[in-house]
């Protein structure tokens, strides 16, 4: 049997199935068409009243019904939708019997306000409602259904059960880098020879009032509510924050040996991954850009590529003043002169920031960019920022030769992860 190894003698890792859901819709085809057309998925929030809030827009996934709404329920459903698509595309295993482990990036979970309000009502406290009242109400046994719902492990448990993944499923949270971390764990498991195939997923449905308000209190969100579709403006001078969004992405990773052996269609190669953490501040990057620079360099070193080999960067590009400036500093330092030539665009201009899911969602779009040799645009780029002189593929999709793509994810808390992908093995 032929064995496919990369420059470092490790198994080559390919992608044989993908699934995606965003505010643009569910499924690769719909998403790709709208992404290329630059049709924004950002709109006024209808899920809950936004009276009194500074930010009243988001990229909510309204076409998926979960009753009653809560973040873990929507995240779980999004996970199911994208895994179904990815596994069907890969044509691997049998229904409910996926032959490898699950790595899933998720938002933190906790009981939400509707449940607290239900318990408060049940407690029949006439005056002040304290946690002692809630505790009294909770011990009735009536709310046993909430128990697994608000366990952190419950979403991965349900997905593992539904799709029959093998071993202990790993849920992870590295803030906005979570999705990329999930992919990294899958890559490492295949490189270690533990498995030939892995399911890497990100799912996030956390647009609820409290989550939105928390980000809002950090002044992280765009407040340009009047024209939601124009609010996410990565790399533009008038960018004023990110737009919260929801979605999911799934990748079936396989060793190239295993994929070839079963005659699977190969959508692309995951060539490298790099990471580096930041110790500067809880929400801000180190001003010297060293952690981001090191992260990008680690990703290139992992697959033995030079900056000039990268034709397109799928940016983290959140549209916050800070992130986009720091991402430019990182890219311009690592890529040098090539940073003025390399195409860099932000899917978040169109779909918003899908948070824990973003790393996987944007990896799916990166592979579609390679497959179609067409680069999705950065929309809402009307006022260039002279401090960021890069080809952001402004406003209109572009046909281009794309051999290698880098996809960046940088998170609150200082976790940075970059992936490098290609259409064909080097």
């Amino acid at each position: 049997m032929a064995t496919y190894r990369d420059k470092k003698g490790r198994p080559i890792i390919v992608v044989t199935g993908m699934g995606v859901a965003t505010p643009l819709g569910a499924g690769k085809e719909d998403n790709w068409e709208r992404l290329l057309a630059g049709q924004s998925g950002i709109r006024a929030i209808k899920r809950f009243p936004t009276d009194g809030l500074k930010t009243r827009i988001a990229g909510t996934v309204d076409y998926v019904e979960v009753e009653p709404f809560c973040t873990p329920a929507l995240s779980e459903r999004l996970g199911e939708i994208v895994i179904e698509e990815a596994v069907a595309e890969a044509g691997i295993g049998k229904k409910g019997d996926f032959p490898g482990p699950l790595f899933v990036a998720l938002p933190p979970i906790e009981m939400e306000w509707p449940q607290r309000m239900e318990l408060a009502a049940e407690s029949r406290s006439n005056n002040e409602v304290t946690y002692d009242d809630l505790l009294r109400a909770s011990s009735s046994g009536k709310y046993a259904k909430y128990y697994p719902r608000f366990m952190f492990g419950s979403i991965a448990e349900k997905l593992a059960e539904t799709f029959g993944t093998k071993g202990s499923p790993i849920s992870l949270s590295t803030a906005c880098a979570s999705g990329a971390s999930a992919i990294q764990l899958g890559m490492e498991a295949i490189r270690r020879g533990e498995t030939n195939v892995a399911l890497c997923v990100g799912a996030d449905g956390s647009v609820n009032a409290e989550s939105l308000i928390r980000f809002s209190l950090l002044s992280a969100l765009s407040t340009q509510n009047d024209n939601p579709e124009a609010a996410s403006k990565p790399f533009a001078k008038n960018r004023d924050g990110f737009v919260m969004s929801e979605g999911g992405g799934a990748l079936v990773l396989e060793s190239m040996d295993a994929a070839k052996a079963r005659g699977a269609k190969i959508y692309g190669v995951l060539e490298g991954v790099g990471e580096l953490a930041d110790s500067f501040h809880r929400t801000r990057s180190s001003p010297d850009g060293k952690p981001i620079i090191g992260c990008l360099r680690n990703a290139l070193a992992d697959c033995g590529l030079a900056p000039e080999d990268i034709d397109y960067i799928n940016a983290h590009g959140t549209s916050t003043p800070e992130n986009d400036k720091m991402e430019h500093l990182g890219v311009s330092t690592v890529f040098g002169e090539h940073s003025k030539k390399v195409m860099i665009s932000s899917n978040k201009s169109i779909i918003g920031h899908t948070l824990s899911a973003a790393g996987v969602v944007e990896a799916v779009f990166s592979f579609m960019t390679l497959e179609n040799q067409r680069v999705p645009p950065t929309i809402n780029y009307q006022v260039p920022d002279p401090a960021i002189p890069m080809d952001v593929v402004p406003n209109t999709a572009r046909d281009a030769q794309v051999r290698h793509v880098m996809s960046n994810s940088f998170g609150f808390g200082g976790q940075n992860v970059s992936l490098v992908m290609a259409r064909e093995p080097a």
Partner: protein, 396 residues
């Protein structure tokens, strides 16, 4: 890839109701008298962290203010582990050190929640009222304490661990997988030195609330883990536990000695239908049994006290009647995510002392140890999901 390496434990950082560091833990365990707080949160029982001089590991007050209790406990324990490994402040090593943290969620501001719930029935529009109150009452910094990955973030900021940073979610199982992945990455040569563990604040009414939905809280009267009857239950414990795992070549190059060797870390998932947990534990045991030496090994159990998990775990012990067992949960309570790392640490400490602490239960699941302890099988049995097993051995 190059050949597989051994994995050494070169640092231990533990903090619980028993105190801080290996020696304080060992002395309290040897005294054989579990202590739990049955009064403060009555009827709920907790194992409180007590008074900790956080300044010793988190010198900047500003850093401490940006953390909730679970993050302070974890950042403190991580500092102890780095001290123990002799790498504290060594920016060259810390800049390349990998980190995996198993974490739960942030803590609620109980006063804010209570005030909102109290005021809500008196308003015409609860949703709009909620928006107003949250906008005015939430502290922006609370958000950071709430994020699960901010324990790792705080460890990066306070101690400078920046090689990589990953946070796993999912109760007890996440703690097992955190250790497993850190272990495998070193074994495989991908990582040279790693900090792995977690932290838990059990003195939280919002946590009792969650576990009360599933009737898991131990109430009213304290009893050792094996003496909690058919209903079972766990007493939450506040604790932090971090291990420094290291490639022996890396350790030797810097003159570091092993505390113990971590020889296997396994995790599994089962649906917990009757008998499945026992079968899963047996399956993992079978993978390590070839390395166990007669008479020199013991089981450090991660039993929480919850049923039916505790009974199913006892069926595994019954297969190995001569192997002494200790459930550390009797002493330190249930710390959920960091429990597995804590038990690996306590196993290493016991091996260092060449024996076990005295039995505690009246059910006689725990028996005195004859002979010298050189190997410990550490079980991780989640109260609801998550199964793990580790083998800790004397280093030489």
């Amino acid at each position: 890839m190059s050949g597989e390496r051994e994995v050494w434990i070169t640092g231990i950082g533990i903090l619980s109701c028993l105190g801080e560091g290996p020696e304080e833990h060992w002395q309290k365990l040897m005294q054989g008298k579990p202590v739990a707080d049955t009064a403060t949160f009555a009827p709920y029982i907790v194992h409180p962290i007590g008074t900790v001089s956080f300044d010793k590991q988190i010198p900047k007050k500003g850093d401490q203010r940006q953390m909730e209790a679970w993050q302070r406990i974890g950042t403190y324990a991580a500092g102890l582990a780095l001290d123990s490994a002799g790498v504290k402040g060594n920016s060259e090593i810390l800049g390349k050190m990998d980190m995996i943290v198993a974490a739960g969620g942030g803590e609620r501001d109980l006063a804010v929640d209570s005030a909102i719930l109290t005021g809500m029935p008196k308003t015409g529009n609860p949703d709009v009222y909620l928006n107003e109150r949250l906008m005015n009452d939430l502290r922006p910094t609370l958000f950071l304490a709430q994020l699960s990955n901010l324990l790792a973030g705080n460890i990066s900021i306070v101690h400078g661990v920046t090689g990589s940073s990953r946070t796993f979610l999912g109760e007890e199982g996440s703690g097992v997988d955190a250790v497993r992945i850190a272990f495998l990455r070193i074994k495989d040569g991908l990582s040279k030195i790693a900090l792995v563990g977690g932290a838990h604040n059990g003195e939280r009414k919002d946590m009792f609330l969650l576990y009360e939905f599933g009737s898991y809280n131990l109430k009213d009267k304290f009893a050792p883990v094996w003496d909690r009857g058919s209903k079972g239950g766990f007493a939450l414990g506040s604790l932090g536990a971090f291990l420094v795992l290291e490639d022996p070549e890396h350790a030797k190059a810097r003159g570091a000695k092993p505390i113990a060797r971590l020889s296997a870390v396994l995790s599994e998932r089962c649906r917990r239908k009757p008998g499945e947990l026992t079968a899963t534990l047996r399956g993992m045991w079978d993978k390590i049994k070839g390395t166990l030496k007669a008479g020199g090994h013991a089981i450090i159990s991660g039993a929480t006290g919850a049923e039916p998990a505790a009974t199913e775990e006892r069926a595994l012990f019954a297969d190995h009647a001569g192997v002494p067992v200790r459930a550390t949960g009797t002493y330190i309570g249930h710390g959920v995510e960091p429990q597995f790392a804590m038990n690996i640490a306590l196993a290493a400490v016991a091996i260092g002392h060449g024996g076990l602490y005295p039995p505690t239960d009246s059910a006689s699941v725990e028996k005195p140890m004859q002979g010298s302890l050189t190997q410990a099988v550490v079980t991780g049995v989640g109260h609801w999901r998550g199964e793990g097993l580790a083998l800790v051995e004397a280093a030489i």
